[in-house]
Point group: C2
Chain length 168, copies 2
């Protein structure tokens, strides 16, 4: 298999994979493209290599920056902006966990906490089932929250220790 072919397949599959996880196909493809590009790319490079419009490329690149997965890179003497993706997959995973936790788990727990304050007779079967389910989710969510924080933290300290080694 040739590089260009493998690259195409990787980008296409990463895009399809993303859609199964609620991620816009183009965003996942831009991410894939930047992951396998040794040097930073411009918006026009992305447009050309993925055959997408200017607006689409722009929107998804910015979304990736919001997610902390892509950085703007300044190339001296160039007017255009360049973009480059974090290449360390462990850092990528940590960042995604961090963002999803913030965007989804935390608001969900907030809601669950509100719902756990319903008034009602615990003798009632319907009420009891509701409270039990909500409490189950609450406990699970709180545990997940703690576990994910630990993962994020341990990754950061791993990162820190790696950095320290570099400067020792």
């Amino acid at each position: 298999m040739k590089l260009s072919e493998a690259k195409q397949q990787f980008i296409a599959s990463w895009g399809a994979f993303g859609t199964h996880w609620g991620i816009n196909r183009t965003m996942a493809q831009v991410h894939a493209l930047l992951l396998v590009s040794p040097d930073p790319l411009t918006q026009d490079d992305v447009m050309e290599q993925l055959s997408v419009s200017r607006g689409n490329a722009n929107m998804n690149i910015r979304e990736l920056i919001d997610w902390g997965l892509v950085d703007r890179v300044i190339v001296p003497g160039e007017r255009k902006e360049y973009f480059s993706a974090e290449k360390d997959i462990w850092k990528v995973a940590t960042q995604i966990i961090k963002e999803r936790k913030k965007r989804e788990l935390d608001p969900m727990l907030k809601l669950i906490n509100q719902l756990s304050t319903i008034e009602g007779d615990k003798k009632d079967k319907e009420t009891k089932a509701f409270i039990d389910t909500i409490n189950g989710i609450k406990k699970f969510g709180e545990q997940a929250d703690r576990t994910l924080d630990t993962m994020i933290k341990s990754e950061e300290s791993w990162f820190l220790s790696t950095m320290l080694k570099l400067f020792k």
Copy 2:
């Protein structure tokens, strides 16, 4: 907050939550409804409570059964089928992890393994970047695979030990 109101909000939010994770809104809502229902429901109950069509209800209930999150329940003397959701959130989580792993992580790793066999000069910057990214994903995926298997297994043994206690 009253039960009916809380229930409505839970179902709506669970549905919205699902869409962020690539899960069809109705499927997530049916799941939520069954999670807070003390007794099994029929397809008509689901249709009525969620205001969805027969086809939609049927399709999503079956999908939930495929995912191993909902069971058909036979009520003696009744012609209709009844459906009930697994209520233990830890088991629900385990089951979702199991299914997503099978449906998505495993095929992705298969692809990555194929892509890691590209021919090419490692001196070439493009080729090197591609190989490095693929290998990074490969290592990460293999670790995730092992970790998730451990989680699934530990849940099963926790389940087993709970069961054993019941019969001791």
